[in-house]
């Protein structure tokens, strides 16, 4: 590669990084602006302040934000756990057993993945009100499975298909018990796939807005994205922009941390089933 060409690729790379980070940098910058500074027409704050963060953690916004943060973490983690557990069994069957339901299950997962979420919301809204699941954790965890389960099944099946299952028998031939062969050979091979699947499922649950805004009404179950959509100032005269920006930064931290720690795995998880099948 000539040095001119090399410069070109570096310029293109820098452009990508700017593209990816610019809106995030903007919301971070906005979160450090004082109320009087919001309309300064500039990207950066004149004098940075942590006022907005105190608003959402200890001030007027805390009643809305803190329960929402707890709900988001709780609901998303439980939904991720359940869908990974169900997907693990299903993916094992798909990858390893010969049974006629494979196509049906993968096809159903695909159908569910492209399902318009709002079409589920309308009937659930009515049903949940009748059976008392409206505005509860289970009332969100159950529909979240429609988001997380299909991708979990696809991603995990793709990972499991690559596991050299013969090694299990090999270990048994070498004298390991069935349990030992499973624990010492199969679990370490399968764990990365399960873990990656969990991260992707968590992203999707964490991103939900439609269910969150439609199936909750109080801080009993309302997740952060829905709370952000409803954020208003301490009084109607106070501009909530700064508080929204600060809350947005806080909910972005977990996903950015996961991306930075596990980027290679996430990319593999998102793409390996797509082109190999």
């Amino acid at each position: 590669m000539s040095s001119k060409e090399r410069t070109w690729w570096i310029v293109a790379g820098v452009a990508i990084v700017i593209y990816a980070l610019f809106p995030v940098a903007w919301i971070v910058s906005l979160s450090f602006k004082a109320p009087g500074d919001l309309a300064n027409g500039q990207f950066l704050p004149t004098t940075p302040t942590d006022e907005n963060y105190s608003t959402i953690f200890t001030g007027a916004g805390a009643d809305l934000f803190l329960p929402a943060l707890r709900n988001s973490f709780g609901i998303c983690l439980i939904a991720t756990f359940i869908s990974c557990l169900l997907a693990m069994f299903a993916a094992y069957a798909i990858a390893r057993l010969d049974f006629p339901g494979k196509k049906l299950i993968l096809g159903t997962a695909l159908g569910v993945a492209i399902f318009p979420v709002i079409s589920i919301v309308t009937p659930l809204f009515n049903l949940w009100r009748n059976i008392g699941l409206y505005d509860t954790w289970p009332g969100l965890i159950i529909p979240y499975l429609s988001l997380t389960l299909p991708i979990s099944i696809w991603t995990m099946s793709a990972f499991f298909r690559e596991i050299p299952w013969e090694m299990e028998q090999a270990a048994q031939v070498d004298g390991a018990t069935t349990w030992q062969a499973f624990r010492k050979v199969i679990v370490p091979l399968a764990a990365p796939g399960v873990f990656t699947t969990a991260i992707i499922a968590f992203f999707i649950a964490w991103n939900d807005f439609v269910y969150g805004i439609s199936l909750t009404s109080t801080s009993a179950a309302r997740p952060v994205p829905a709370a952000l959509g409803l954020f208003s100032g301490a009084s109607q005269f106070e501009d909530p922009t700064g508080a929204i920006a600060a809350a947005a930064v806080i909910v972005t931290i977990p996903v950015v941390a996961l991306v930075l720690l596990f980027q290679r795995r996430i990319v593999a998880g998102l793409t390996n089933g797509a082109v190999k099948g």
């Binding site: 990816a20 027409g41 389960l149 991603t155 991103n207 439609s214 920006a245």
Partner: protein, 320 residues
């Protein structure tokens, strides 16, 4: 076809024994398979098939939650009401416009990103990969707020930065008109979802056999010819899968519209219309009918892709 492809050299699918005589072993394997995969299948059907059937049923009634006493069967009347109303057609046009614009731009931009990542020096590749995953991971609502605040008259910087362009001034109200508001919605959607497309395309690019590229080069093919005759045909599957998922995903656009315009100035999408009927107006019958119509349109688009463009779903996978 005059395109150049190599036969797939992927791992072989387990060949099912032609089962005239189903052995005990095969039968027990089948049983175990259903036992393991059954719960996942049941849950998926429970959270989608059941609600959509309920929605079909509800859509046949004139039913308002605030007035449950007067619930009455109206047959297909709700559908007649919706389909003869301008609101439905405006929301449909808005949704189609957003879908076509964002998917088209994302495909081109996604390609550019994938090419850069494929060619980038291996030293900076992890940096690029992490950077590109960030828009994918950021919550849609957060991205929508970021773009809204950037373009807003009071909190934004766009008007002061781009004031030198004709038609943009300190008081340009981006969310005051249908066209400009939808433009900002599209920008936010494109920013957030291009990375997903580009990752799928990058994986597709990696599948294009280097041998073919070299051969084409030796034969004197230009860069453009190689792109059209070698690269693109060999990654057709990846392109179609990316296209299918993004199209259906874009068609459900809701979060950005909710945050940026709340449907004002004729910027309502079909999903937003269904939400407004059900949750805000508590018109269960009408809302259900909109939901069913949206579902049918999505099924239609999927069928068009699968039958019309022959997308191989064995190679596709789910992405919410």
């Amino acid at each position: 076809m005059t395109t150049t492809t190599l036969p797939p050299s992927e791992k072989t699918a387990p060949v099912s024994a032609p089962g005239h005589t189903t052995s005990d072993r095969a039968r027990s394997e089948r049983k175990l398979g259903w036992l393991l995969a059954g719960p996942a299948l049941a849950v998926m059907l429970l959270v989608t098939a059941y609600p959509i059937l309920q929605a079909v049923y509800d859509s046949l009634f004139d039913y308002r939650l605030t007035d449950p006493e007067n619930r009455s069967f109206t047959g297909l009347n709700n559908y007649v009401v919706i389909l003869s109303d301008r609101t439905w057609w405006i929301s449909m046009a808005v949704t189609v416009a957003i879908t076509v614009v964002t998917v088209a731009v994302e495909l081109v931009l996604g390609f550019a990103l994938a090419f850069v990542m494929a060619k980038a020096l291996s030293a900076i590749r992890p940096v690029l990969r992490a950077a590109i995953l960030i828009p994918y991971a950021v919550i849609t609502v957060v991205s929508a707020f970021a773009w809204r605040f950037a373009f807003a008259i009071d909190t934004g910087f766009v008007n002061s930065w781009f004031g030198w362009l004709p038609g943009i001034g300190a008081d340009t109200d981006w969310f005051g008109g249908q066209g400009s508001a939808l433009l900002v919605v599209c920008l936010a959607e494109i920013w957030k979802t291009t990375p997903f497309i580009s990752l799928l395309l990058l994986a597709g690019l990696a599948q294009v056999p280097e041998v073919l590229q070299e051969a084409a080069k030796v034969d004197g093919a230009t860069w453009w010819q190689r792109l059209r005759k070698v690269t693109l045909p060999n990654m057709k599957a990846a392109i179609m899968v990316a296209l299918l998922f993004r199209t259906l995903d874009a068609f459900r656009v809701f979060d950005s519209i909710f945050v940026m315009t709340a449907g004002a100035n004729n910027t309502e999408s079909v999903s937003f219309l269904a939400y407004r009927q059900t949750i805000s107006r508590l018109e269960i019958g009408l809302g259900s009918a909109v939901s069913v119509l949206l579902f049918l349109v999505v099924v239609g688009i999927a069928a068009l892709f699968i039958k019309g463009f022959k997308v191989d779903l064995a190679q596709a996978r789910g992405e919410g």
